[in-house]
Symmetry: C2
Subunit: 303 residues, 2 copies
């Protein structure tokens, strides 16, 4: 089903990520000229820098490219969505939530810096995301700034990521229907992944039809990501994942694999990938190679 | 030192607060038409509704009035700053932070809903604050939306409230210099109080000189608030405060009272009040009665 095999995703990603990593280093609580107080900056940077697949930033940059948008604006958006993702991991790993000690192969933030500092670092990262979206340097026009803040707030909040985590929390040890499992993931991971696509697209202009198609692409990719995550939780080991494998089953969390089995989950992921490609075609946008290749990559990723 | 004694603050406040409470009920995770998932909305509303002095919303409305700004925009700003304040209390009360069980005379959010839900409710409230600032209904122009998001993000983040809390955390059991204590409170409570004034003023237009004077007013009021808070912690009882009294001393936290003594702290509060009044005069704005009366009220409040 993959299209445009000739597109070199690795080289494209490396180029984007070089810019993203550099921007994150510059923007996340820089030690100069005014350091964050009392070690807070260390915890914030530890949570964000030098780790993660940066899938959300890549989706932002790819969507911006698809609409020929402003790369300067997209770079801020890419960092902002990554900060929201990073803060959610910090809070999610805390003892009162998932109580995880390993993340990206390193001790989690609360293990390294203490729970209170982890709580504050997460809070500060969320605020910083909105600060990045509202520069005073004229690099992003104010109407776009406002739209981006709105999209990010909705994707992160009670009708988005935080809401999905609340469902997740309430569903441990419970049998969820397919509909309930979908609803949970649509919010928990899907909302921010979809927002990454839509916010990247908001860095340029797209027809209503193209926007609608990109929204469908984002929904398919967001769901596929979670299905594959559930598959990898049972098929990969901790070293490959960089986090504790088999945790979902150990915690008796409902997953796509526990609901539909491994084989059907794999088929479902491929079906969602087809939907994503179909949506890209329906968008009638020309430069969708990166979006297309990212969808392939995330469904077929080894870990 | 109080001016314009004839201004009826109680009636003015009651009018503003009626609007603010109604707006909060409408905007904080409304049960209709689409409830927040898995009880998250209940925790969010519990954290925000029916409690608190709403000092920050009153400062917003008063500053907006001073610059003859848009009351519609100010109402959103008033709710947004209150949501940031409320989320900070929820997280601050958690066991890994202050471990407080009583707030506004009621069990704290984590006592009532569990730690995980409290963590998520705080996170979702922060996101919601930015959502409130970015309506699509045309009630706030986009340039103002962008500026408001920027101001709120800076006031809430690592160079604002979260940074101040990190200093607070690191300072338990330590002797702080007067300078360090000021730096902590300028961030921890001062940043959001000052932002309330400046964001209220951003709902209209003010000269650079007036803005600068309002900034000074906000700084003086923000600091005075904390000095009075420290005084009340040793002079009022828990029932009056609606929270555990004497906690600072019990936790060996540095306060203005522990640093300079009770009598000098009282004098300092009055001095800051004079500075606030002086700044209002320097602003050359006409309708500053509410800002003036609020400064009086918060310095001379019984609890």
């Amino acid at each position: 089903m993959t299209e445009k095999k000739s597109f070199a995703l690795d080289a494209w990603s490396a180029r984007q990520l070089a810019a993203v990593e550099q921007a994150l280093m510059r923007w996340v609580a820089p030690p100069e000229p005014r350091p964050a107080p009392a070690g807070l900056g260390d915890a914030m940077r530890y949570a964000v820098l030098d780790g993660g697949k940066r899938l959300r930033p890549l989706l932002v940059m790819a969507a911006c490219e698809a609409v020929d948008g402003s790369p300067k604006a997209a770079l801020r958006v890419a960092c902002a969505v990554e900060l929201i993702h990073a803060y959610s991991l910090v809070h999610d790993d805390m003892p009162c939530m998932d109580n995880d000690v390993l993340r990206r192969g390193k001790p989690t933030v609360h293990v390294k810096f203490g729970e209170a500092q982890a709580l504050l670092a997460g809070d500060a990262l969320q605020a910083l995301a909105f600060e990045l979206l509202t520069p005073e340097d004229g690099s992003v026009d104010v109407a776009t700034q406002a739209a981006l803040c709105r999209m990010l707030a909705q994707a992160a909040g009670y009708q988005g990521m935080a809401g999905g985590q609340a469902i997740d929390l309430a569903s441990v040890g419970k049998a969820l229907s397919s509909e309930q499992l979908h609803a949970m993931h649509r919010l928990k991971t899907g909302a921010l992944l979809q927002a990454s696509v839509m916010m990247g697209a908001a860095c340029g202009t797209a027809s209503a039809a193209a926007q609608s198609a990109l929204r469908d692409y984002g929904a398919a990719v967001g769901l596929a990501f979670q299905v594959v995550d559930d598959i990898l939780d049972v098929t990969a080991d901790s070293a490959t994942l960089g986090k504790t494998a088999g945790k979902d089953a150990a915690q008796d969390k409902p997953t796509f694999v526990s609901l539909m089995g491994l084989s059907a989950s794999r088929n479902y992921a491929q079906e969602l990938l087809s939907q994503a490609h179909h949506s890209l075609k329906a968008s009638e946008l020309q430069r969708v190679e990166a979006l297309s290749a990212l969808a392939d990559m995330l469904v077929n990723r080894p870990a």
